[in-house]
């Protein structure tokens, strides 16, 4: 399989982020076409294209738009989730840096489809450069007359909380409250931002729309696999020669992607990897040929998530990696519900012991039992994500845990796994 750059087609141009560059490549033609269409026809087009949410869950985008009640005389809102914070996930950030206008054009089209006059782009607080760039792009789009004629875009900068990537927590944060997930129902499509029908979409989902409008549903359908259509960004990071964004049709395998990225770093071999960010159960080198689409990854026991492929080679301690992730979730748990708040607090303490080689096999069972008491018991999916790496690591690397306990200390030198460690060519 080959790379099919659609979103990233012109990223290598020096001025790719400018409105001039975007217009040069048929920018804002799709919105022109879309605004002339009936909103319902637009929704149907996106449904037909098979586009699925790129934020992780893979919910059909057109269907989500279709949930917005029509003719209800209420304000509707489009909210773009640009709170990209998942460890390993780094696709929306470069997209907004390299081509912010495709996001803006996508907003115009989506807002028109769901009969919204206002779109909000909620950007993660730490992304100062992105905020500046998107702000400039919005300003340019207003100057060019693409915005301000019935559709407005408001950029909102978050305060740096992972939980605000959860759509209802994002809405609370956008309204000025602390970001904590809301009770559902009502779902955002019925009562979202300020209690009004709201669509919350990921950056990449919205950015995919202009091309679909321009080239048609059939064109989009022609790429990808049976139930996972189109192209998407695969983000390779970690122990890989050429990390970065790889836009390919859905269904590509890690083996293929690794080839494109030049393979695992010189002299090392793949130990484990995440298919879609740290919240998705890890895979090992046994999963190199799993088709990376929604169904393929799910069938193998994980989730496609955000297609954030973190590659770890054999120098990495699985326990240390899992501990780091767990520390992240403990730090980011919003605190609303007991399992996540207290559970992540406890898990970190247990994993710190295990990382130090302290404990017995019984502690591994306890760890799994606590994970079982957290997964599916919490208010939102954050805690499910938090236990995913722990459970999957014990599934594939239980022996390593036992070895570490037997060793009564770390088995790995953390320096070995750093990218600045001397390469062991031929090792």
């Amino acid at each position: 399989m080959k790379l099919v750059p659609v979103l990233s087609a012109h990223w290598d141009e020096k001025d790719s982020f400018t409105i001039q560059a975007y217009t040069r490549h048929d920018g804002y033609k799709a919105s022109q076409k879309a605004l002339a269409m009936e909103p319902d026809a637009l929704i149907q087009l996106v449904k037909d294209s098979g586009l699925r949410g790129r934020g992780g869950a893979g919910f059909p985008t057109g269907m989500k738009w279709g949930f917005i009640p029509q003719g209800d005389n209420k304000e509707h809102y489009l909210v773009v989730n640009a709170d990209e914070s998942e460890p390993g996930t780094c696709k929306d950030t470069p997209l907004m840096m390299a081509n912010p206008h495709v996001l803006i054009e996508g907003c115009i089209i989506a807002a028109h489809a769901i009969r919204a006059k206002t779109a909000f782009i909620y950007i993660r607080g730490e992304l100062t450069h992105v905020v500046r760039r998107v702000n400039q792009a919005i300003e340019d789009a207003y100057k060019a007359g693409h915005l301000g004629k019935g559709i407005e875009i408001i950029l909102h900068v978050g305060a740096g909380a992972y939980i605000c990537g959860e759509e209802t927590a994002l809405l609370d944060s956008l309204e000025g409250f602390r970001g904590q997930p809301r009770l559902r129902p009502p779902f955002p499509a019925i009562a979202g931002l300020y209690g009004m029908p709201t669509v919350v979409n990921n950056v990449e989902s919205i950015a995919s729309v202009p091309a679909i409008v321009l080239h048609g549903a059939e064109w989009y359908q022609s790429m990808g696999t049976e139930k996972s259509k189109g192209t998407t960004m695969y983000s390779l990071s970690g122990h890989v020669k050429n990390p970065g964004q790889f836009e390919a049709p859905l269904g590509i395998t890690l083996r293929e992607l690794l080839e494109l990225a030049g393979g695992v770093r010189e002299g090392h071999r793949l130990k484990f990897w995440t298919p879609g960010g740290s919240s998705t159960p890890i895979f090992t080198d046994a999963h190199l040929d799993i088709p990376l689409d929604y169904e393929g990854v799910a069938a193998a026991g994980s989730m496609l998530g955000t297609k954030a492929l973190q590659i770890f080679d054999e120098t990495t301690s699985i326990i240390r990696a899992v501990l780091r992730w767990t520390e992240f979730y403990k730090h980011e748990s919003c605190g609303k519900c007991t399992p996540c708040r207290e559970g992540t607090w406890w898990l970190v303490q247990i994993l710190r012991d295990l990382d130090a080689g302290v404990g017995t096999e019984e502690d591994l069972n306890k760890l799994l039992d606590i994970c079982d008491n957290i997964a599916g018991r919490s208010f939102c999916a954050l805690a499910d994500g938090a236990v995913a790496p722990i459970i999957s690591s014990l599934k594939y690397f239980r022996q390593e845990y036992l070895d570490q306990l037997a060793n009564k200390g770390p088995l790995f030198d953390p320096d070995e796994s750093t990218l600045f460690a001397p390469a062991k060519v031929g090792a």
Binding site: K330, G335, C337, T338, E342, W345, I370, R377, S378
Partner: protein, 783 residues
């Protein structure tokens, strides 16, 4: 209930048992119907579901389709075809609940042996039912400084908090006082206040009561008792006319705390901080223990009961006598005073209104209030509520909560006729009809109401001539219901008991021969006095004119009324028999002082503003003090005119058999509003009310409560402030011929001609210092 509400019922199966519950019922409460208790922390029936603690997880399937994960039963309403398996029948639910309990306990400190909540703690109880016997947690617990004070009366121990958000939700959803919120995140999430903005809500005590752990505790109760050492008695609140159901907890004869009782039709499960915490006055004041009699040298000396009763009887027999009874008497005691006046003193000179009052009010009470059936339910159903001379949050807090509930639930329209926009009316999002003090009648006349509207009239309405006439006329023409809401707990009962000059018990008119005969027959006497009685103001005047020579005074604070110097002089002049719990301005001037029981020491009832009986038993059982009516009965006996009350129960029974009266009702002669006074440059019209927390006698001895009182300020309008070059915080001197008060200015939304100051707060006792109330012209200068 007159209308039948048709409820759609839904049948579900819980643990194999079918149960039908109204549509919208949450699974957790449907289970309660079957007696199945699902453990919970964040769930509270009067708060919106939040699903935060995850303790109540159960397995649910609908029409054969099972939820993949256990669901929080406190957030899911029943649906047809639902099959629910709780911890009793589902291993998954059982393990989920045990797992959550274990997680809740890992960071919970082992404070139980010293925690106020220990012994009545939902966490303790549910840890026993749902927890494991030994902890698997061997790590480091989260620790915080403990406890921190979030107001002078509420302490927060963050280590104990399970973050159920009941307190923050209560403050936001019920009281509309979001002074506390959750801060930080993850395991460091904690309840907190804003910097330098303490939890100064009038309702903060409810958060202590609904806290399912010992995280929020009352400063006054902390470390004072273990729940299992307390004897609890159902009681009623004596502080205002809202009529809260209460519970009084006593240990070894001493009241240690009071809690809100659960009465869905009145206070739901809430009360105000005054009702909860102001009870120490009973012990804080220097109680009277023995009767006192003034000797030949003019000094009050201890006397035996027979001697004191004899002196009292003698003095009352020798003079034309009248009765002044305060608005805090119980219904039974007020009935006792009413009967005592008519039979023992042979007079209609009795008035429970030991406060500012008017003849217009007396007519209004007889024609529109006595026997009125307006209730909280009418507020629930009203299309529009008009507030006249009434600040619900300050003067009847549970009425405020009910209005607030409807305001939040269905945007109930509330209109306040007032001079100053109050915090309470602002929270109710009410329309503020800005009126010059004294000119309320005109504003009332302009209101458009319907038969579904309710007019809530405060006792202060009598201070504005014509206002009550206008209210009566508005109700008569529109069909709107009237509710008169006095401040004191006993006034409605006293009215019903006939402790007022022109009414006999049960709305019978003194002027009506048939009514007099009815009551005379009921009391077993030949006749009742027919001469029209005097009001409290007239009684004072009659003492000065010599027409009245003796007074029976029970529970009256002369500093609460108008004409304070005249009242005090009258008490000096007349032969006074005082029934009191403690030395007071009255007992100092009395000839015979008879100690009576305080509220916690006696049984009885109050009629709240609805006329609903709120009965209570003695919480402190070993008191030797007796209720007023027993003592009145003894004096009457001594006078040779028996009124026969052996016990409070006997009096209550007598009242219950009184029967209704369908004879003549009073009518009302309308009074017109006064002209607007012409004001000089530095003149304002005074507007004032009492705040919930102020210098009231019943709040004595509770400094922690006093610490949350609102600031004493004088409010003027921006326009007048500009003219006078006054900014917030400048000192304003308000003066009359009698005296002055000096207060810090606050520039706010108030009628340009008005100045507002609290009536009885620290530094602002207007009746004492200015000698005037609402509507009087005062001089204001910047100093």
């Amino acid at each position: 209930m007159t209308t039948t509400e048709i409820l759609e019922m839904i049948t579900v199966v819980i643990d194999g048992f079918e149960v039908s519950v109204p549509k919208g019922t949450l699974v957790i409460r449907a289970a309660e119907q079957l007696g199945i208790q699902i453990p919970r922390f964040c769930d509270h029936p009067l708060l919106e579901p939040v699903g935060a603690c995850r303790q109540c997880l159960v397995d649910i399937e609908i029409n054969g389709r099972a939820f993949p994960k256990p669901q929080a039963s406190c957030t899911i309403p029943v649906e047809p075809g639902m099959i629910i398996k709780t911890q009793l029948t589902s291993d998954v639910a059982d393990k989920a609940q045990k797992g959550v309990m274990e997680l809740l306990l890992i960071n919970h400190p082992l404070d139980c042996p010293v925690c106020d909540k220990g012994g009545e703690c939902p966490l303790q109880n549910q840890a026993m039912s749902t927890g494991r016997s030994e902890s698997r947690f061997s790590g480091t617990k989260r620790s915080f400084e403990k406890p921190v004070s979030i107001s002078s009366q509420v302490l927060l121990d963050r280590e104990r908090c399970v973050l159920c958000a009941r307190c923050t939700r209560f403050s936001d959803q019920i009281a509309s006082d979001p002074f506390i919120t959750l801060n930080e995140r993850g395991a460091l999430q904690q309840v907190g206040i804003y910097e330098n903005a303490p939890f100064k809500s009038y309702f903060s005590g409810n958060t202590v009561q609904i806290c399912p752990v010992g995280a929020l505790t009352g400063t006054s109760y902390r470390f004072r008792a273990r729940p299992f050492d307390l004897v609890s008695t159902p009681s009623a609140c004596e502080h205002c006319a809202s009529g809260c159901d209460m519970r009084t907890d006593v240990r070894r004869g001493k009241t240690l705390r009071r809690l809100a009782g659960d009465d869905a039709s009145v206070n739901e499960e809430w009360n105000c901080d005054k009702g909860r915490w102001a009870f120490k006055y009973v012990t804080a004041i220097d109680r009277l223990k023995h009767p006192l009699v003034r000797n030949d040298a003019g000094v009050l000396v201890e006397a035996s009961w027979p001697e004191a009763l004899a002196v009292a009887a003698q003095g009352l027999k020798a003079n034309a006598s009248a009765v002044l009874v305060g608005g805090r008497a119980t219904y039974e005691d007020a009935y006792g005073y009413s009967k005592f006046a008519r039979i023992a003193l042979n007079t209609n000179d009795i008035d429970f209104r030991s406060r500012l009052s008017s003849d217009e009010e007396r007519e209004f009470l007889a024609s529109h209030v006595v026997g009125s059936t307006t209730t909280y339910r009418d507020i629930d159903r009203a299309d529009h509520v008009l507030l006249v001379g009434f600040e619900p949050e300050e003067e009847s807090p549970i009425v405020f909560l009910r209005l607030n509930k409807q305001s939040r639930k269905r945007a109930l329209k509330v209109t306040a006729i007032a001079s100053k926009l109050s915090i309470g009316v602002e929270k109710l999002k009410g329309d503020f009809v800005k009126t010059a003090p004294g000119q309320e009648a005109i504003a009332i006349t302009r209101q458009v109401l319907s038969a579904k509207s309710v007019i809530l009239v405060g006792e202060r309405a009598c201070e504005s001539a014509g206002a009550l006439s206008a209210v009566a006329a508005l109700a008569d023409t529109t069909g709107a219901k009237i509710a008169w809401i006095p401040r004191r707990a006993g006034e409605r009962g006293a009215l019903q008991a006939g402790a007022i000059a022109h009414l006999l018990p049960g709305a019978r008119l003194v002027s009506d021969v048939a009514a007099r005969e009815d009551i005379a027959a009921f009391w077993g006497v030949d006749s009742l006095p027919s001469t029209p009685g005097r009001s409290s103001d007239e009684i004072i005047a009659a003492v000065h004119s010599g027409a009245i020579g003796a007074l029976v005074v029970g529970g009256v604070d002369p500093l609460d009324g108008a004409h304070i110097p005249e009242s005090l002089a009258a008490l000096e002049k007349a032969f006074v028999v005082a029934l009191e719990i403690a030395p007071s301005e009255v007992t100092m001037r009395a000839d015979v002082v008879l100690p009576v029981a305080a509220i916690t020491e006696k049984s009885g009832s109050f009629l709240n503003w609805e006329g609903r009986a709120r009965s209570f038993d003695a919480a402190v059982l070993d008191s030797l003090n007796r209720s007023d009516l027993r003592i009145l009965s003894m004096i009457a006996q001594e006078m040779g005119a028996a009124i026969n009350f052996s016990t409070v129960t006997a009096a209550a029974r007598e009242i219950a058999t009184l029967g209704t009266w369908d004879g003549a009702r009073a009518s009302m002669t309308p009074v017109s509003a006064p002209d607007m006074p012409v004001l000089a440059a530095h003149e304002f019209i005074l507007n004032s009310w009492r705040r919930l927390l102020d210098l009231g006698t019943l709040q004595k001895g509770e400094e922690n409560l006093a610490g949350t009182a609102r600031q004493t300020i004088a409010v003027i309008s921006p326009k007048r402030a500009q003219i006078m070059e006054v900014v917030d915080g400048d000192l304003l001197k308000i003066s009359t011929a009698q005296g002055s008060v000096t207060l810090a200015a606050l520039v706010e939304d108030i009628h340009d001609d008005a100045i507002w100051a609290p009536r009885n707060s620290r530094g602002s006792q207007l009746l004492v210092h200015l000698g005037v109330g609402h509507g009087a012209v005062v001089r204001v200068t910047k100093i």
